[in-house]
Symmetry: C2
Subunit: 156 residues, 2 copies
DNA sequence: CGCGCTTACTTGACGCTTCAACTCATCGCG
DNA sequence: CGCGATGAGTTGAAGCGTCAAGTAAGCGCG
């Protein structure tokens, strides 16, 4: 690789270690809470939440995949499982037969509604309450700056 | 769930969304870089890096699992694959036959040495260079505070 | 109007992680 | 010493994500 790879300074390293630990642990506890209290993976939750907020409680697959930050293939598998569990339905769009529209069922809707408060509470407990309002602002700025480097072509 | 689940305020939500995006994307690009340039997953890298820095380039399995933040079972599978690739060796400890000691081979050592600069460069590019020194300090403080809530029984 | 190209999704196979069983080795205690 | 309990790792099956290939519907141009 690069012949000139500068190792990290002590305080850079310390910051990175803290961030790395955060990157590893926070998703873990949030996933765990959802799975334990609602039997949903985080991705499944995002899918159901996305549908529940969409007009007609429906959305086409590729849009939904983008919303949930996953590949179309992944979404397809997940939606198949959610359909078997009775939380969503799939129908081809009337005007274009290539398009599949996923719709959340009443059972699915109740599932999100019951899962959401616990999830929000967990986010509040672990993140929001741990920080001062000022730190929250700093965090947003920091995260956005890193994201701009990581994924330059994204809105905001 | 909790009857009293307070939803997030607008700016809380915005900060959370940025953090959530970061949590999702940053591990992705870092993993991708390692995989592409060195053919190692992040976990494999951690295992090899952990061994390369240990006295005698060796460490017992359970210690190594803790270091790499993974289960013993996961480590066992991974080390088996790394052994098949010729990067590590496993031997029972002389004084206690229950213990397995993993040792990195020369090939494995060269692999970490060649992988490390690219990884460090990626961290620098995506994280360090995106922030001011002051923000790096803020980030460490923020991450540590969240981690204290998430995982109260951890050093520092 | 028909034939190839593109779009939108689905499917199957493979690899990795997890979970629960299982195998040994060692320790404690009578 | 013997034997159950505990500790350290390993293994196999099951589930999820990814990648590549497959299917089917629309579009476009001769």
């Amino acid at each position: 690789m690069a012949g000139e790879a500068k190792w990290l300074e002590q305080d850079e390293l310390a910051s990175w270690m803290s961030l790395a630990a955060l990157l590893f642990k926070l998703p873990g506890v949030l996933d765990f809470q959802l799975q334990r209290d609602s039997g949903l993976s985080h991705f499944e939750y995002l899918v159901l939440a996305g549908l529940s907020e969409s007009p007609g409680r429906s959305r086409r697959m590729s849009e939904l995949a983008g919303f949930a930050n996953g590949s179309l293939s992944r979404l397809s598998h997940v939606v198949k499982r959610l359909e078997q569990r009775g939380f969503v339905e799939r129908h081809p769009a009337e005007d274009d037969g290539r398009i599949t529209v996923a719709t959340i069922t009443d059972a699915g809707y109740e599932m999100v509604v019951s899962a959401a408060p616990g999830h929000v509470t967990a986010v509040r407990e672990y993140v929001i309450d741990a920080l001062t309002p000022e730190q929250l602002t700093q965090l947003k700025t920091i995260a956005d700056q890193i994201l701009a480097k990581v994924d330059p072509g994204r809105p905001c």
